[in-house]
Symmetry: D2
Subunit: 493 residues, 4 copies
């Protein structure tokens, strides 16, 4: 490894190029493939693993550039299409096949060879993670276009290998292997575990922890889903992760499953659908174990809400500055951004904060950014309505390319869940306050409706929401401006 | 199922079409895919399984025809390429991506959905087997072109799922599960087992039976490899399959592994490389278990040799007839097919057979076709030289599209084996006599050379053979006509 | 091994004696035991295994004689008791302890040492089987007394090791290991299996085959219990073992478990209660799997009935002869044995058999001994009543030391079952005809009553029987003579 | 449970008595045993488990008293012996059998019944632990004699069930189950683990942790043995338990196994030999894994050395006091205890401690009791020789009933190990200082000699020791007095 990277860049690049060529054969297409001994492919992987990050970057650039699709070949194959079409159906199909073959980049063969090695699939997952990392730093648009093609070819292969039928569902308990439990503890990012007692609780009575593993990556949880078994839809995360559990489960007292944490552990599998399938499988498992289980819901964080809100405040502030004469953020002319808090609310904020001389919105912004608003009970009480309202607006109305801007919302809505209920003071950990002012949300799964919901969301960008959420969003200032279609949302009372 | 197939053909076809549409969505491309509940996909599979062969054929024709690639879309995407190329690298890559997407037939999505079901992969394997069967009967060239595309798209998907990293190697012994042992017994086509004693012997001492299984098809051997552990390269199959075995292995007496039967059990995986990988894995296992093992070889049947020989005799006979004046099959003008036996040999045949009035070649043909030549020791002795010679010619010189015409030879040569040794009277079962006049062949694996051999075979159509084989082939009449390049074949003495 | 046995008997005996002494130490009791390396003990076992049957017999005689209890030591210890009693409770307990220690034969230590070896427990089981075999041939009463002590000490140790908590219940199906299934097939003595299809059926749908294994004898079924799942108490064995089974079970149609074969495979475990525990465990398993299961019953053979009957006929015949003037076997004076068939019945037998000149009882005896009575339908019909009647007498009234003379009856009655129903023509295999004239019997387990039944049987020799059985036994000639206590038997209608 | 204990004592005792009687039947011996349903036995166990410690004590007293051996029966049986002896060998054997049966206490049957229950063996282990606890508090000699018989009958049964062949060896790694690893962590008393990192290290590279489990107590380590793999006989425990370990093992650098902690986890199995067998099995495992392993040794604590030393100091002090005129602890008349330190040494102690006015021995005692001597380097250096010397005397010369007084020494010597090497400053944890002034000892296992060593130790009370130990013991003051037999101890260079 060391020797591969220590010499001059051009020599290094030539070396990579030659190693790959030896594995995937020369450029001319159409030759039948001989059997490649694993040794060379394995050596290439070993070299890559031993490289410095910079050399890895070079490696990826060389391969994505030199072993991509042969554009001339593609053009030539594409030109032949019309003629083939006139000839016959058979000729057209053949021409299309040739075109398809030409479109396959040469590194595709490399991926196939690597995938056959023991540990090869994991290697490709890691290499894709490196590629995604590299993409965030690359400036040159041509390089980044090639890397994106490379990454996307890799993602396609990985989706085949990680399709649901090849993933193994495994329930994790305190009797599971220590190394796997340790990984589950380390991977948990949503509600981190502080110690082994925490961990023991999350795999203990009234909890179900399921993972997907893959036969090519033994002892490695690919996706982790934590579920709490309750008798109502939970509105607070601390009751789930910070409460002492009973010694035994009372199956009679269980009718609800709360998905309170789902983690995809492999960055390199970004864009490969896994969490969705894990939820579905777990629902089936739970239904089999608890025939009386009737309610399925997430209790989800709302990452980005506080940052979005601060951004909105900034917009109002700068629009206010520019429109000068106005001294509150409320009810500007139509060109100004939608109001966030009512004048009364803003005054109240200033009053409680004791900073009546400053601009109330500036005060509010500072309070939110420092989490200081949580210090005074009266402030917390006061902000409840506006924050809940604005959070509903954020989740229900804020979109990107037509879909929910919040990634967690987007995940569950795509799965066919209903935007069910906002919960105030649901996560009072500093982390929860910073992310979403302590608000959490339930995405509820009505098993009979998920397909329809998913279809309407994906095809019509329709978000199925409860009356609570719709009412809150409507109450938000933006409602008047943005216009809400009022679906006959299910009531959650 | 019944109701689906009983109504009018056009209604049935419309029904299929609609069921598939509900699963893979409408024709317009580009839409993001919603989550499809498994129920509909599962139902489609159930319907298919319950159909009569005729209705299955209709089903396959409908899908391959109606849900294939959208040719107009492809043409449109192809037309945009030159323009994109002029614009920028990025634009070209995007255009190629669009083209690639257009080339994906719509049934690809259906395969993906089915593959996710429990048992879905096995379903697809079986559906491909049906398609391959159907293809042998379809006359209409347009229909068969579509079915071929369908089958080949399916093969591509299956190759991903059955790539070597996802297959599990398992050694089978008498302590393995009865149901799996029973399947291994039933699948064995090369050297059939008559009873459980036969089976017990094939998984007992001095034998190794390995299988590949796949996690989506539990308890189903996908490929089976039978190996005998010996101290020399076996020249006879009965000593392997019909001999009482010792109670215990003597590891000190083992230095050779003879692959004497390899079976791919799933017709639907035709064209998906599996046997090659199983041999490689088994070699690794055996090397780990027996560090002193130095020789690896097959002992293989030669299906088709007798039939080919009869065909050659027929050619000579008809050419003789047409050239009238000649009364033996030997040494005609260059336009006649190459001679098979010398005049002396032919006379001897007639003499021993006691039919001196008939044409000797006709006598020989009859003897071969009825296996009667095996009855007389003198005839067996007499035919040894010519049959061995002709068999070498068949294996070494007879080609199709440049590669060995014999499929078993093609398999091992592609893997990088050497055409090592022809063995006379190696399989004296009626089956072996009928197939190859009792001759069997060793394809030997020199582990250090397999890559080079495979490459030369695949790229240059070069067959690496031992001196015995080359000498025999040269001695065959065809040698003079066809010209043998004389490689420095390894000697097997 | 060979050398150990080839030399002179006395030298051989001295050798054994010395080997054992080295393992269990010198005669003086009371020393603390040093750690014995396994090597010597293992060697002794190896020597034993390699001996001829004669030398094994010598071996067992030497050990049972030379390493038994030290009688003088025992006497001495026994003599001290009264004095100790007068002294104090503590002194008495100590004295008893010393006595108990003295009573332990020295070979007990040998068993302990052997039991610790890998395979040692199996060795002891086999050695006990040898001892039991030997006991059937030994004439010398002193030798046989010592061997009995030896065997009984061994049995005690084995009962500890084979107590129910150390046995593992395992269900055997067609997916179980071939070697275990093969053993199950070979061990089946009650209803032998002819081939693997038979075997597959006995572990297939509507059947449950359970075994006990022991951790010291891996892959060895210690007891085997075959159960049929039905919807009524079976009255015929062929419907169980010779009927094609459905592809799947219909749990709704199952409410009865029929234990139709139970086999203890290790002769050396004779007298160690195992079958009883297996039945209990299987009942628990079945109740868990089929909550609606309400009926548990055996369908059992009646080994010995035909032989007993022939013996009874002989008695009548010889008593008849001696009382000379009487020419039928019926109604002799009180000193004659009880009548078996009525005069009318006997005449009918003679008539159907067409041998009216011979003594009817002699004719009957011959018919029974040759199974010829099964040939004529009329004879079968005619004999139904008397044979059923006599069979009830045999099972219900014939005793040895107060308990049922039939060993199968004794086994089930001890377990607390009810003598439930005799079934005519229940086993028409030659074997069944020879054993019990084709009659089989159900011993039924009423789970709530087994303890009481078992207690009354063990303590009062009371057999709980159904009205059918009681009525039949009463109808038998012997009933009047022997007197039946008429328990309020459960009706089986 | 509650109700059983809440009523009057005599009623409670009667209840227990009756429950037991129902299980084991009435007093009269000789009856065959009926089948007992598990329900009653299970109930008795449940009742016991729910009792308060006081009620448990009553329970145990009632059973040990009322269901012990029938002394009159024993006496009667014993009286018959002489007569039987005169009659015949067979009669004598029978009489002895009857005597043996009479000696079996009635609670033996109860143990058998309980042992058959699921969890029954564990229950008996726990009940024996309770009995042993109770024995330490009982004053009445008759009660304690009965409890000792009870406990010893129980121990006998447990030894059968926990004989080596029934224990399963299991290697524990970081991939083992969390619950078992947690137990291993909690059970470790010799060198406690502070956290999971500690634990991970003890099952990681260069370590082997093996346990025995028993099939009746799943997931429960019965004995735990921790071994370090090194290249020399370790002289310090911190290098084993507190050092960062390498990522991978280097098998070439391993030739020594150090047993540094062995724990029997079940108090109720006291007196049942287990640790010995675990060491033997682990030696076999390690030899199989590391064929080059040549050295096996413990690194053992010396619990009790400091306390013994303080006791010896006290003896000297009081003898000094009584002999008044003497002002040092050295060289008293022959009636005084042996000297511990030389005068020079004692002066040095006083000097370093700066307490020259006090009696040096008193100063030393205080220093030892407070561990303060460890504070001054010069004191540590000064005390090295005398403490090592005295420790050798403690281990090598101090006996109880002829065997080593130190229990750890007794364990390893009984196993046949050699008292190999004392290590200064080998355990500098407060715990190690308090126990044994930081000294640890290696008991070395020469595999070929363990049997001889064990025999000589058990039979002749001979301790095999190295020259280092012998020299040290000889140097100790007591050597002259006590006399050392100077075995040709192996030199440890």
């Amino acid at each position: 490894g060391a020797e591969a990277g220590s010499s001059s860049p051009s020599f290094f690049m030539a070396t990579i190029s030659q190693m790959v060529t030896e594995i995937i054969g020369p450029k001319e297409a159409g030759l039948k493939k001989p059997t490649i001994p694993e040794g060379k492919t394995r050596h290439l992987c070993d070299v890559y693993r031993s490289l410095s990050p910079e050399d890895k970057a070079t490696f990826l650039r060389v391969i994505s550039q030199q072993f991509g699709t042969d554009h001339d070949e593609v053009l030539k194959a594409a030109e032949g299409l019309p003629q083939a079409k006139e000839k016959s159906e058979g000729a057209l199909l053949k021409a299309e096949e040739r075109l398809q073959a030409a479109l396959v980049p040469r590194y595709h063969d490399l991926f196939v060879q690597i995938g056959r090695l023991e540990g090869g699939v994991k290697y490709l997952v890691d290499m894709r993670a490196d590629t995604l990392d590299l993409l965030t730093t690359v400036k040159d648009s041509s390089v980044s276009a090639e890397l994106r093609s490379f990454s996307s070819c890799l993602r396609e292969m990985l989706s085949h290998w990680f399709s649901a039928g090849l993933l193994h569902l495994q329930r994790i308990t305190w009797e599971s292997s220590c190394d796997i439990l340790q990984k589950i503890s380390e991977y948990e990012a949503v509600h981190p575990m502080r110690n082994w007692t925490d961990l023991k609780r999350r795999v203990g009575p009234n909890r179900r922890c399921f993972i997907f593993t893959h036969s090519t990556m033994p002892r490695e949880p690919v996706v982790v889903l934590h579920t709490a078994l309750t008798n109502q839809i939970s509105d607070n995360i601390q009751t789930i992760v910070a409460t002492a559990l009973p010694d035994e489960e009372d199956a009679d007292d269980i009718n609800t499953a709360i998905f309170y944490s789902i983690t995809s552990t492999q960055k390199g599998l970004q864009g490969v659908e896994l969490g969705n399938y894990l939820i579905k499988r777990v629902v089936r498992e739970l239904q089999a174990e608890f025939p009386k289980m009737t309610q399925f819901s997430s209790l989800s964080p709302i990452p980005g809400f506080r940052d979005w809100l601060v951004g909105e405040i900034n917009k109002v502030l700068s629009s206010t500055e520019s429109s000068s004469s106005d001294d509150s953020g409320v009810d500007g002319p139509t060109s100004t951004p939608p109001a966030l808090l009512t004048s009364a609310e803003l005054e109240k904020v200033a009053e409680i904060a004791g900073k009546e001389d400053a601009l109330p919105l500036v005060t509010l912004k500072k309070l939110l950014q420092t989490n200081q608003w949580m210090g005074a009970e009266s402030m917390v009480e006061m902000l409840r309505d506006p924050l809940m309202r604005l959070c509903a607006r954020y989740l229900y109305l804020e979109k990107r390319r037509g879909y929910a801007v919040n990634p967690v919302a987007n995940f569950h809505l795509r799965n066919g869940a209903v935007l069910w209920r906002l919960n105030w003071q649901a996560d009072t950990n500093p982390r929860g306050i910073s992310q979403s002012c302590g608000i959490m949300v339930n995405y509820r799964y009505f098993l009979g409706d998920t397909m329809r919901n998913s279809q309407r969301y994906m095809e019509e960008q329709h978000i199925e929401a409860s009356q609570q959420v719709i009412d809150l969003a409507q109450a938000a200032g933006g409602v008047d401006a943005g216009g809400v279609d009022t679906p006959a949302g299910k009531s959650n009372l």
